[in-house]
């Protein structure tokens, strides 16, 4: 079990680094898809089966497909490569490291390293029961949010006036 986790962890970090280092955004997207699958796997190791499945369906199956779709739509026209900016790279690296280190320091004080005590199973039935009882109003609100997002996307993406052809 532990081996699976560490293997996944390594893959996760590698793919995450790949996301931000690939020059070609399509490769970044592929790396991210892989990353998301690994996250789903990590969810599975935490017995969150439903969330793992939803992760694959929503993230990998919908969001990233959309991203890929847009990338493919635009990629032929995106020849310009971003010039590398050492200033930003350095600043970002320092920022990220400081972030990791300062938050990591907190773990010393806050948590012991005892393994999880609960035998919680995130099955469809279990999650569904909580979702449709305690969280039914947020759930409905989420449906409204999605509706608004659909409407917004349609309005934004519709070509209202003819600009230069894509």
């Amino acid at each position: 079990m532990a081996v699976t986790f560490y293997l996944m962890a390594v893959l996760l970090l590698l793919s995450a680094v790949a996301v931000i280092t690939f020059k070609n955004p399509i490769y970044s997207a592929l790396a991210l898809v892989f990353n998301l699958f690994v996250v789903a796997g990590l969810f599975a190791t935490l017995d969150a089966h439903f969330i793992a499945a939803v992760q694959v369906v929503v993230y990998a199956g919908a969001i990233m497909v959309l991203v890929m779709f847009v990338l493919m739509l635009l990629s032929a026209k995106l020849e310009k490569a971003s010039p590398f900016s050492p200033l930003y790279f350095g600043a970002a690296l320092i920022c990220g490291l400081a972030f990791a280190v300062t938050l990591g320091l907190e773990f010393d004080s806050g948590f012991n390293s005892a393994p999880p005590a609960s035998d919680l199973q995130g099955t469809v039935a279990a999650v569904g029961k909580v979702l449709y009882s305690r969280y039914v109003f947020p759930f409905e609100a989420a449906s409204l949010l999605l509706m608004a997002a659909i409407a917004g996307a349609v309005v934004l993406a519709r070509r209202r006036y003819r600009t230069k052809e894509l």
């Binding site: 970002a92 300062t102 938050l103």
Partner: protein, 633 residues
């Protein structure tokens, strides 16, 4: 009002003019001539409804029409109620009757004006407000009408608002009225606070029972407050200065609003609240002093005026003083009597003046008139009859009411001023003489002698002469008809206004009456002689006493006085507030804030690179900073 209520439909009386105002404006925009017809019709309908109601009004009863509950706040309940009792009936008759005539007159007088749809809409709106005032069953409804007529007065004085002086006159009327209204409102609030109602029917027993915590002092206070309101509306010293200026409005407006109806609202209010005033003798004494002073000052000022409308205006102020004298003596029916007769002959005078002005192509200076009796016979005769009426010559209506006033003053039974009443009577009689004198003067200067102007005067068309004739007849015989001689006695009709004051009846012979009108005869005769035969005499007389003449032609310098003690300091304060407080401090603060934001914005602008990743860097950098700050430091 120890009378029984009968419910009846009263609201159409006020509703017709309101509808008329709307229609006259809306339809008048398309076709100007419709406005006059609509407005006159609305006014006439209202008059007919009043006649119908008054005809059916039994003795010692009143009609009541409770429309809806207007205000409901905790304990305070105010109903929107209309009532027609005898007092209201008389006022309604005058307002709608004279009003209709003046509407008819205006259709001809205003027939060339571009804005006449506006004019008639205002006029009907005024009728509506005035009817609200006299029909209102409590002080609150009365006050709506009170403010409504003030508004219409303002609108109509400034009707030709393109003339800045006219617009300023309207403003002056409005502002001066506000001062009076403040007093009136205070009175209403005091009543509300201490008695808890403003309904007349409920108020009267409450006041007369004397169960008010503060007693007579309270009565005096409230009475004085209300009188301040009446002073403003009815142009008494010290708030009379607006009325002469109000002549800026079209002449029918002067006739209707500033002679016949609106300015008598103060008298009506006093009569309405008579039960309160009779319990406050001190207040009544104040009323008497103010009334006599007003009558005298106005009459003397009128002597030196050359503008025909100004003469009439000062005359109105003076006559209003007479009305208040009657009220001060507790003879409220007499006050109303004079209101009615005054409405007849003063409306006739104003309309006659309007006819002259109309005929002389908007000439108002009497020095440029004269000899008009040949050109405008009807106007001349009606004007002459009205002059005799206002002069108080027996049997004309003015004699009846003025005689009643003098009679009421002779029976002064107020503990205050008891010892002065003799002298006051002399002054009043002298004022009556002056009235006859200056009115005859205006008649002579206008109609007799040779024409001194350059226009081509002509007689007015029938819509103007018919009201003149009707009003002249009323002015001649109206007083007699109301005095009881012909079987109808206004005194008896308004018996409810008799709050224990001694009602003395003295039947007099015609000879005695003629003798009693000696002041009027003297004034008329003297003026006639002085202005037809001895034309140098008035000038000589004025030159003999230069300070007096200056004082008179300067209208006692009331405007200048107010200018010096009220307007100038206020202007100074306003200038200070404007230049120093508003422009300096407040604008400075606002502009300073803006300048500060502007300056800091310029600084912040440097950090706005528009680069997303720069913002992201700042965001995460700040997060890191705060984490470090919190955990490490």
């Amino acid at each position: 009002m120890n009378q029984a209520a009968i419910s009846a439909t009263i609201w159409p009386i006020a509703f017709f003019p309101l509808l008329g105002a709307l229609l006259a404006y809306v339809l008048g925009r398309k076709e100007r001539d419709w406005a006059g017809i609509i407005a006159t019709a609305a006014s006439a309908l209202s008059f007919l409804w009043v006649v119908k109601l008054v005809w059916a009004l039994p003795e010692a009863h009143y009609f009541e029409d409770q429309l809806f509950q207007w205000i409901s706040l905790a304990d305070l309940k105010v109903d929107f109620t209309f009532r027609v009792d005898q007092l209201s009936a008389v006022m309604c008759m005058v307002v709608t009757g004279v009003g209709t005539l003046i509407h008819l007159y205006s259709t001809a007088y205003m027939h060339e004006d571009e804005g006449r749809h506006r004019f008639f809409a205002y006029l009907n709106l005024f009728m509506f407000s005035m009817l609200l005032l006299v029909l209102g069953g409590n002080l609150m409804v009365l006050f709506i009408g009170w403010e409504g007529v003030g508004l219409c007065s303002y609108l109509l004085i400034g009707f030709w608002f393109k003339n800045l002086a006219y617009a300023a006159a309207g403003r002056k009327a409005f502002v001066v009225n506000r001062i009076g209204d403040a007093g009136f409102l205070l009175g209403i609030f005091l009543l509300l606070h201490l008695v808890g109602t403003t309904d007349f029917v409920a108020l009267q027993p409450a006041i007369m029972s004397g169960n008010v915590a503060l007693g007579t002092d309270f009565y005096t206070l409230v009475a004085l407050c209300l009188f301040v309101g009446a002073c403003g509306k009815s142009a008494q010293i010290p708030l009379f200065v607006w009325l002469p200026d109000a002549m800026a409005g079209p002449t029918p407006v002067s006739a209707l609003i500033h002679a016949a109806t609106m300015v008598t609202a103060g008298v009506y209010m006093l009569a309405r609240m008579g039960f309160l005033f009779v319990l406050a003798p001190a207040a009544l004494a104040v009323v008497l002093v103010v009334a006599v002073a007003t009558a005298f000052v106005a009459a003397t000022t009128a002597l030196t005026q050359y503008d025909i409308k100004k003469v009439l205006a000062y005359s109105t102020v003076s006559q209003l003083g007479f009305m208040f004298m009657a009220a001060a003596a507790g003879a409220f029916w007499v006050a109303i009597f004079h209101v009615v007769t005054h409405a007849f002959f003063k409306a006739c005078l104003f309309l006659g003046a309007g006819s002259v002005i109309h005929g002389c192509h908007h000439e108002q200076d009497m020095r440029h008139m004269g000899g008009l009796y040949k050109k405008m016979p009807i106007t001349c005769i009606t004007y002459g009859v009205s002059v005799l009426a206002i002069a108080g010559i027996f049997f004309f209506s003015g004699y009846q009411s003025k005689h009643a006033i003098l009679g009421a003053l002779e029976h002064w039974h107020n503990p205050h001023l008891k010892e002065w009443i003799e002298y006051i009577l002399i002054l009043v009689k002298f004022t009556a003489f002056l009235t006859a004198f200056y009115m005859t003067r205006s008649f002579v200067m206008t109609f007799l002698g040779e024409y001194r102007g350059h226009a081509h005067p002509h007689e007015s068309p029938w819509p103007m002469t018919v009201p003149l004739i009707v009003l002249a007849v009323l002015g001649a015989f109206g007083g007699l008809a109301l005095s009881g001689s012909l079987g109808f006695s206004l005194e008896h009709y308004l018996a409810a206004l008799n709050f224990g004051a001694a009602a003395e009846h003295h039947h007099e012979s015609i000879a005695a009456a003629l003798i009693n009108s000696w002041t009027g005869l003297l004034g008329v005769g003297l003026a006639f002689v002085m202005y037809t035969q001895l034309k140098e005499l008035p000038g000589m007389f004025l030159r003999l006493v230069p300070p007096l003449s200056k004082l008179l032609s300067g209208k006692y310098y009331f405007d200048e006085l107010y200018g010096a003690i009220i307007v100038r300091p206020l202007e100074g304060l306003a200038a200070f507030l404007w230049k120093v407080v508003d422009q300096g401090m407040i604008d400075g603060m606002v502009n300073g804030t803006a300048a500060f934001v502007d300056a800091t914005g310029e600084l912040r602008r440097i950090t706005q690179t528009g680069q997303l990743r720069y913002y992201a860097l700042m965001l995460f950098g700040a997060t890191v900073f705060f984490i470090i700050f919190y955990y490490v430091l």
